[in-house]
Symmetry: C2
Subunit: 152 residues, 2 copies
């Protein structure tokens, strides 16, 4: 049974989740499968690129963030999914050995007009590395069941 419902997401609320270390092996394995641009596969190609060294695919950072928020709160939320993502910005490279955390800010909440048993929760999700530098920001509307409504 879910513990977190729409009503538990309060505008302005800030919480942090993680941490998650990132290894060279997984950076290269992810890139080889989904984004085999040389700067995500090879140290020398990374140095020759704007990334200045081997760095994770931006998509890899996205899916690591997804896993961090799943383990952090989504696993116990009455989530109904999401229509998409509003904006992703890759701000700094994610390197082998980095340790990521995610800062979640509830930007806005509103009950669905067409489905009053569901609310939209607009989240700002910031991925930070171990030095506190923001490596990625992402905003997304999530659909969360209201407390007392039938849940999925």
């Amino acid at each position: 049974m879910p513990k977190l419902y729409f009503e538990d997401f309060v505008t302005g609320n800030v919480t942090e989740y993680g941490s998650r270390p990132v290894t060279r092996e997984e950076i290269i394995a992810f890139a080889a499968e989904f984004d085999p641009q040389p700067m995500h596969l090879d140290e020398e190609a990374g140095r020759a690129s704007m990334l200045g060294g081997l760095a994770a695919s931006g998509w890899h950072t996205c899916v690591l963030l997804m896993r961090i928020i799943y383990d952090g709160f989504l696993f116990e939320a009455a989530s109904m999914g999401s229509p998409g993502v509003d904006e992703v910005r890759w701000l700094a490279p994610v390197r082998p050995g980095d340790v990521l955390t995610v800062r979640r800010t509830v930007m806005e909440t509103r009950v669905s007009k067409s489905r009053p048993d569901v609310g939209f929760v607009n989240l700002l999700l910031e991925a930070l590395n171990q030095t506190g530098r923001t490596v990625m920001t992402l905003t997304t509307p999530m659909m969360i069941a209201r407390r007392g409504a039938k849940t999925p």
Copy 2:
């Protein structure tokens, strides 16, 4: 050496890439690693959800699209990376056995003001399944070197 430079991306140009079949095994493996929400792992949980059956994580569709466009044109483009993604919309479930293609539309191109050797190419990327249904749309600005400029 790259073959495709900024000048090769012409506003209004539409091209298609793929196709890429999606298996049940990879849907479940991706979800188990990055997005273990039950509807991405289990047929019954999928049926009980808004997805109406086992369906790929939306993030999985994103990274499959990335691989399709890499194999389609990025591998031979003078790409300098991307600052991010402007909007992702998940419009229909991706099921085991679906076959994805990507339709790329060049929406706008402009030379960087701060770096005249680089241009921004705004792309609309639509993932279609084997029935022609659009399962995801994504817009992203890509940075591509201009022809004759020093490339990465």
